[in-house]
């Protein structure tokens, strides 16, 4: 199956942008990565098993493109995450602390944390998406949680 590109864009643009932003920490770079991902989806004649398969493929491609973007010579990073955060509207003002804590974590922890806490993926699913052993994902999640606990203290529950 292949869902129409327009539909996929409308449904997943923010999902992918959040992931790309987590890696790039730059709005313009994240937009570039997501746009390139959608172009790949649109132009590749690839068949998918189901919508979950499409979503996992989009996420994996976005992660790879975002990592390329960050390591690229053309990495723009014109607006850093602190400036970006100033323009964000948080539902609860305390949420800015969580955003800040995540942004300060090493990149390798941010993606498993985001896929687990935002997209509700299991450790096994995250391992399949980012092509990484389950044990590695588990330890990255654990370390990420510890960093969040250190930064947020009692505002982050023990798990």
């Amino acid at each position: 199956m292949k869902l129409s590109t327009e539909w996929v864009i409308q449904k997943y643009k923010d999902v992918l942008f959040r992931i790309a932003y987590n890696i790039c920490q730059s709005e313009s770079d994240a937009d570039d990565a997501v746009q390139e991902c959608f172009i790949k989806y649109h132009t590749q004649n690839k068949e998918f098993d189901n919508e979950e398969h499409i979503k996992a493929w989009l996420i994996r491609v976005t992660i790879n493109l975002s990592k390329n973007m960050v390591s690229s010579f053309w990495h723009r990073n014109t607006v850093n995450w602190e400036e970006y955060m100033q323009n964000m509207t948080f539902e609860d003002p305390h949420d800015s602390e969580l955003f800040k804590a995540v942004m300060q974590m090493p990149q390798k922890y941010r993606i498993p944390i985001h896929l687990f806490y935002y997209e509700d993926y299991s450790i096994k699913e995250i391992a399949e998406i980012i092509k990484c052993p389950e044990n590695t994902v588990k330890s990255q999640l654990d370390r990420g949680r510890k960093l969040l606990k250190q930064a947020l203290k009692e505002e982050w529950e023990d798990e």
């Binding site: 199956m1 869902l3 643009k13 959040r18 937009d31 746009q35 649109h42 806490y117």
Partner: protein, 205 residues
């Protein structure tokens, strides 16, 4: 509030303002012409066979005009459909090069006494965007549409390997409502919202 809920609340504030559709399709629009999908075109032909052909778009027939957004092969176009109240319609739209396309058609149904009743606007619209299967290069592709806020999106599904004894069964879910589709290889399809129709229940020719 647990960690997950708080994380979701925090990062739901991160969203893009970029119009990816425009960027993604820009290059395609330069070289590709908008065309009606084959299934839609087939529906139109079917309607023509059933109904009275020959109404011209633009005639003052006192009908009702509707505008909708069609997304076909990556192109968005505003289509205008005019219904004349007698089971006939005229569809027109402009492609990315500004060329005007128009199609006309109609449909009828029959009451228990065999009298013809003109199809309603909703029935005509449903028929135009009804799922259909196209057979090409040894493959069977199911095309279907879903509608969101006036936009009609076209999707495709390769069902070639799903046939057993020339019949395959597919469930589409749109807005939480199932549509059960029974496809007979090169002999049409039937849909039902409650169950798969038995192949013996339709197109027995």
């Amino acid at each position: 509030m647990n960690n997950k809920d708080r994380y979701k609340r925090t990062f739901s504030s991160v969203h893009t303002s970029m119009d990816y559709s425009k960027e993604v399709f820009e290059m395609n629009n330069k070289s590709k012409r908008i065309h009606l999908s084959r299934p839609l075109a087939a529906c139109l032909v079917a309607c023509l066979l059933l109904g009275t052909a020959g109404i011209c778009y633009g005639n003052d027939v006192g009908g009702i005009q509707r505008q909708l957004q069609l997304w076909i092969d990556g192109d968005q176009t505003a289509a205008v459909i005019e219904f004349n109240g007698a089971g006939e319609y005229a569809l027109s739209y402009k492609d990315s090069d500004g060329n005007l396309y128009s199609e006309t058609g109609g449909g009828v149904k029959f009451d228990k006494d065999g009298n013809e009743i003109p199809a309603t606007e909703e029935e005509l619209l449903r028929q135009m965007f009804y799922p259909d299967v196209e057979y090409e290069d040894g493959k069977a592709i199911l095309y279907y549409y879903n509608q969101v806020e006036g936009n009609y999106y076209k999707h495709s599904l390769d069902i070639t390997d799903l046939f057993v004894d020339d019949v395959c069964y597919i469930t589409l879910t749109q807005e939480g409502k199932p549509m059960y589709i029974t496809v007979k290889y090169q002999k049409g399809l039937a849909t039902n919202t409650r169950r798969y129709l038995n192949p013996s229940e339709f197109n027995n020719y």
